[in-house]
């Protein structure tokens, strides 16, 4: 059973203007001198209460910086909550930052193996899937080349093919639908649709308000790190459009 529960969850980033503290600053701070590299607090998620059950297809909408992508990373286990309770049950597959995490010196085949291992595969199961991944990516002989020589489109193709080769219980998607050239996009959409059908639970972050109601049954409207509205997809999208302006509502 796939299930997600968030209770009174907060996530606060404590950032510095310059990443990493200088040892000098650290010592100066101890001596009560004002730091030139102050800590800035960003309250990325505030008091989130949310329950997502098996079969739910949830969309997160909201303006840029509202905390949607942060929410996905939190659900994926990459960010840890500052306070509150997070419960995620089920095997998670995440489709975001797809082009990250390739070893440039290694060949396409090797990278297929690395990423599959990270998704919890074993050498035996990778061997079984390798061919299917390669075929779907349509990269052919390029897979023998180091990934360093790939174009960005080729990398996205490979990443998408690997990431979607598993059958997830929980699927987290962050607007990745513009993958590769036109022919590949058609294929990728089909693959996404298949995956969404198979997944026990799905969370999508998107600005594509037109297509969301076809994919999702519930929606959450995020605003400045808080949940502003939660309900059926149509209701929430309508309310969101109204708040943005009459022009958007008419569209």
């Amino acid at each position: 059973m796939a299930r997600i529960e968030l209770e009174h969850l907060n996530l606060t980033f404590r950032l510095r203007r310059e990443r990493g503290i200088r040892l000098k600053d650290f010592i100066l701070k101890r001596m009560f001198l004002p730091s030139r590299n102050p800590i800035m607090e960003v309250r990325a998620l505030q008091d989130i209460n949310l329950r997502i059950d098996q079969g739910d297809r949830i969309a997160f909408i909201g303006h840029n910086g509202a905390g949607k992508s942060t929410m996905l990373k939190l659900l994926a286990g990459i960010y840890q909550p500052s306070s509150g309770r997070r419960l995620v049950e089920g095997r998670v597959s995440s489709l975001f930052d797809l082009t990250l995490g390739f070893e440039p010196e290694a060949s396409g085949w090797e990278n297929i193996a690395y990423r599959s291992y990270l998704q919890g595969e074993t050498p035996a199961s990778v061997r079984a899937k390798k061919q299917a991944i390669a075929e779907f990516s349509e990269l052919g002989d390029f897979l023998n080349m180091p990934v360093r020589y790939y174009s960005s489109g080729m990398i996205v193709r490979l990443a998408f093919s690997i990431a979607t080769a598993i059958e997830p219980e929980i699927l987290l998607v962050d607007e990745v639908l513009s993958v590769g050239d036109l022919a590949f996009q058609v294929k990728a959409r089909q693959r996404m649709r298949d995956m969404m059908d198979k997944a026990h639970l799905m969370v999508v972050v998107s600005h594509d308000l037109e297509s969301l109601p076809h994919v999702c049954n519930r929606a959450v409207w995020m605003d400045h790190g808080r949940i502003r509205m939660m309900g059926t997809c149509a209701d929430v999208i309508a309310a969101y459009r109204l708040s943005v302006g009459p022009a958007a509502a008419a569209a």
Partner: protein
């Protein structure tokens, strides 16, 4: 704790393949490939031996294995300390995508260094047995004593592995917080090189008590003894050596665990 190591174990295929790739890419396109990790300390040993045997009249048969074991150990220590500084930056793109335990990134550094260390040790053992030092001066020890003492290297290597994992974890976490760490580590490493009996024996400074005391405080000496005693002297390392090395590893491992415990959840925000 147990579940944490369970998580490290369950993604073993991932970090093992990264280690394999690191080794391969390090020598990609070089004609001698993996032999370089042998040739490097060997060439250094030859250079030092030539210099020291001419300048200071050292006996080569004793001096060469001494320097070679010393340099092999130092190569490991340097790789772990300085390489550890960049381990989390190296793995940043994975950290940003997958919630794997953070300890696998320093582990990757250590295992790479350990591979080179093991190759060096095999050569050191060969040199020690074939052209080796005159061990009979050590209470009439024979080649048989030397052979019998060799198995003690197995637990020593495990100790060294834990030592290296702790060091690279600490230096990695430190350099995420303080970006100057790597530069300071490099300078510290250079200074420490002369304070560690790599190119000389501690006994060389018998008359100089202050220097002796300083050298004996160096925790690295016990690790050098762990690998040198069986090969150079044909004897098991003393209990004191094991106790010192064991204590150092325990303290460092506790410090690394504690630091990881604190930083694991926040690390990504500082990358």
């Amino acid at each position: 704790m147990q579940s944490y190591f369970g998580a490290i174990w369950s993604c073993r295929f991932f970090w093992l393949s990264l280690v394999k790739m690191d080794l391969r890419s390090r020598y990609r396109g070089s004609a001698l490939g993996i032999f370089w990790s042998l040739l490097h300390p060997l060439a250094m040993t030859v250079i030092l031996c030539v210099v020291f045997s001419f300048a200071f009249g050292q006996d080569l048969r004793t001096y060469a294995p001494l320097v070679f074991t010393g340099l092999t150990f130092w190569g490991f220590f340097g790789a772990v300390l300085v390489g550890g500084c960049s381990c989390f930056f190296q793995g940043e793109s994975y950290i940003r995508q997958f919630p794997a335990p953070m300890a696998i990134y320093p582990l990757r550094t250590v295992l790479g260094a350990a591979f080179h260390f093991l190759i060096g040790m095999l050569l050191a053992i060969t040199i020690g047995l074939l052209v080796g030092p005159d061990i009979s001066s050590n209470h009439g020890a024979t080649r048989l004593n030397q052979l019998l003492a060799l198995p003690s290297l197995v637990p020593s290597c495990i100790l060294l592995l834990l030592f290296g994992w702790s060091i690279s974890t600490l230096s990695g976490l430190f350099s995420v917080r303080f970006r100057d760490t790597k530069h300071m580590a490099e300078i510290g490493l250079q200074g420490l090189f002369y304070l560690t009996p790599i190119m000389y024996r501690i006994e060389t400074f018998k008359g100089k008590h202050r220097l002796m005391a300083l050298l004996q405080c160096n925790p690295l000496v016990s690790f050098l003894d762990l690998i040198r005693d069986p090969i150079l002297l044909g004897q098991f390392p003393s209990l004191t050596t094991y106790a010192t090395a064991g204590t150092v590893v325990l303290v460092l491992a506790c410090a690394a665990t504690l630091a990881m415990w604190i930083e694991e959840r926040r690390l990504i925000f500082h990358l």
